[in-house]
Symmetry: C2
Subunit: 415 residues, 2 copies
């Protein structure tokens, strides 16, 4: 009997990615770096901040000169100047009993080691100030190198750049970074019944949904989608298109061939491509069983289920982690695993990991969000439109009772 799969677990499937290597690198301007993945560790070429800075408006002091002062017994100090912003504080040197005005962010005077806030001062005359509050050495000061010392690791390789990461790079004068090239993913929809979204389908025809959905998933993952279009169920066309597409892409996603007949067809194409190696044919997950993975060198070719809901689950579970790996990202490669409680009983079948589409109800208190299953055939899109993520039910579990704690893999771009 044809069409039975040699199923492997999702864990084994993910381990197949070990043999893939990260893509080559490119240089980008820091301002274009958001979300890009660092291909090199970044160490600080210098100290940040480059000098000791005040964190308050007030008076730079030798802390010792303020010890023991109070509202009733203020310390009286001689004002010998003011440190204007953007000028060298070190040009002013404090002797015992002396102080100078300083502003937030200003460079500390030479031999000063603390700052008294302006709120705790009272001017007697232009040269004399009373201070009411003692400060410890280092108080209201950020020391030179307190943020980063020279030579220190600032960001690890494999880091996805966030706004604060870019801020620290700007502060260190690092205005371009070496990142991994973003994976280019070619998307092909197969099926004689498909027409492009802009066309009116004739009898028995339907618009291609998978190309649009998969391209958006690829983009959401920070990669570059190359939508090739629709290919009819014709071996030679499909083979030729795959062969041609391989040149400019790091990955090919074939979708549409979800029936046994078409699946075999996709399989034959993937097997016939030069130097191709079949890595997996069937995964013990639901939905997503009829997934195929082949490789040619470092390029991956996926045969995805034709039903869009299944294809999307497989994308998040099995395609996206490989894309992030190719793109150079360090763990985590999975979707955000949110702890939830179930809002109702959710049955499952033993023997397959199940990923149940759920809607989340958020609580204002410290309670967990509540996950409610959204049932619907895997060919339907509307349950996915309602869903916030996928509740994971393990292989050996018959289901979750109402009120049980579980994990939901959260779809991206929610907040």
């Amino acid at each position: 009997m044809k069409g039975f799969f040699q199923l492997i677990s999702s864990k084994d499937f993910l381990e197949l990615f070990d043999s893939f290597t990260t893509l080559d690198t490119e240089e980008v301007d820091l301002v274009n770096g958001l979300g890009r993945i660092l291909a090199q560790e970044i160490t600080a070429p210098e100290e940040l901040p480059p000098f000791s800075r005040s964190t308050m408006d007030g008076f730079a002091v030798r802390a010792r000169d303020t010890f023991g002062c109070s509202e009733s017994e203020p310390a009286m100090l001689e004002i010998i100047g003011e440190i204007s912003m953007g000028t060298s504080g070190q040009a002013i040197s404090l002797n015992p009993g002396q102080t100078c005005r300083i502003w937030t962010g200003g460079e500390l005077a030479a031999r000063a080691d603390a700052v008294v806030m302006i709120e705790y001062s009272h001017l007697l005359d232009k040269q004399t100030v009373e201070l009411f509050k003692p400060v410890a050495p280092g108080e209201n000061v950020i020391r030179a190198g307190e943020d980063t010392t020279s030579g220190q690791q600032v960001l690890p390789r494999g880091r996805k750049l966030r706004p604060q990461d870019m801020g620290v790079l700007a502060g260190l004068g690092i205005t371009s970074v070496t990142v991994h090239r973003r994976p280019v993913v070619a998307i092909l929809s197969t099926g004689d019944e498909l027409v492009p979204p802009e066309e009116q389908p004739g009898p028995g025809q339907i618009r291609d949904i998978n190309s649009t959905t998969l391209a958006a998933l690829v983009e959401e993952s920070g990669c570059i989608a190359s939508t090739i279009g629709i290919i009819g169920d014709d071996f030679d066309t499909m083979f030729a298109t795959c062969e041609k597409t391989l040149n400019g892409a790091d990955m090919i996603l074939l979708s549409g061939g979800s029936s046994v007949g078409k699946r075999d067809f996709t399989l034959k194409v993937l097997e016939k491509l030069k130097n191709s190696e079949l890595l997996a044919h069937g995964v013990a997950i639901r939905p997503g069983k009829p997934t195929i993975l082949a490789r040619i060198g470092n390029k991956a070719l996926f045969g995805l289920p034709g039903h869009v809901a299944s294809a999307m689950v497989v994308f998040y579970l099995l395609v996206r982690p490989l894309l992030l790996k190719l793109g150079g990202m360090d763990a985590p490669l999975n979707l955000l695993p949110l702890t939830v409680t179930t809002g109702e009983q959710i049955p499952s079948a033993i023997g397959r990991e199940e990923y149940v589409r759920v809607q989340l109800l958020w609580k204002n208190d410290n309670n967990l969000p509540v996950a409610l299953p959204i049932y619907g055939k895997s060919g339907l899109l509307s349950p996915l439109v309602k869903a916030d993520g996928l509740l994971v039910i393990n292989r050996d579990c018959e289901g979750l009772d109402k009120g049980e704690t579980g994990k939901v893999l959260l779809f991206p771009v929610q907040h």
Copy 2:
């Protein structure tokens, strides 16, 4: 005494946004729609799927003809044809005792109401098949309109488009959408001590960190950043720059003036701008107290704290929600509130909401992630580089004990 604030709560601050209205709209091609916010409700112009489809490879049947069949007593049916993909299934009409071949996604034959999977069939000859498994009407079929009926709401206004949303639009032939224009945010850093990141700072000078960080935060929020650059501490230049910048921007972020003196300076500029209205001056949060909000018509002008860590917290708590509102997004406007347990005791002061930078340790089991505080002065960037989000400690709370449950507002783009 100068410089004291009239503090308002973060809740009151967010309520100030009620008087701002969403931006105007534009039309974008569906393929460019990821992350854009719908300005109109979308209703289905037609049914999806447009016809009843098989979800399996097999035989289209009148379900009644299979009732009672089994392995030992198969139903024997006459094969009157095959429904090729992309052709009209309705061209074939089944009489009692008749069946036809069908593939996954194919249109059901006229008067067929179910599909028997090929796995449960045995061909006797070209015209005759034995079926071993009875099917109920509707089994292995997606009915016409089962995903969406004509006229049904598919997506609400204010929806941020996700891949599956785009899929359903493609399926319905909706290839362009009306979305809100993305807010344009002008970013100005003020301070005589600042030099651009690409320059070598002289004595007492430091590179501008806030422009890069804020621009990335704006971009991360799906908006357009317009980095104006550095302005020295000069009233006239600052006033003229703000006035000029207002033309092309929906929002201005001024940062750098975190000291009492500079803050008053920013305040004076904001007050002197024509038709400006001061909405808030000081918020009861920590960090972030010295935040200023003014408006001119529907344009918002923020005076952010100069310390980058404070500016970032204020951005996520108070700027981003307004940006998302201007951009037309429905709730939620906050960062994702993750339930966590604390890994150690975290003290806090009564009277202000506190937002503690925390690192999260993820658990593989169903336990909550553990939040560990990362302490550091608000002028430092490195604690933010380590942080995954902000632990919220309420105004009337003295802190959280080790092992207590709390909420962390998760920074975006983590997974």
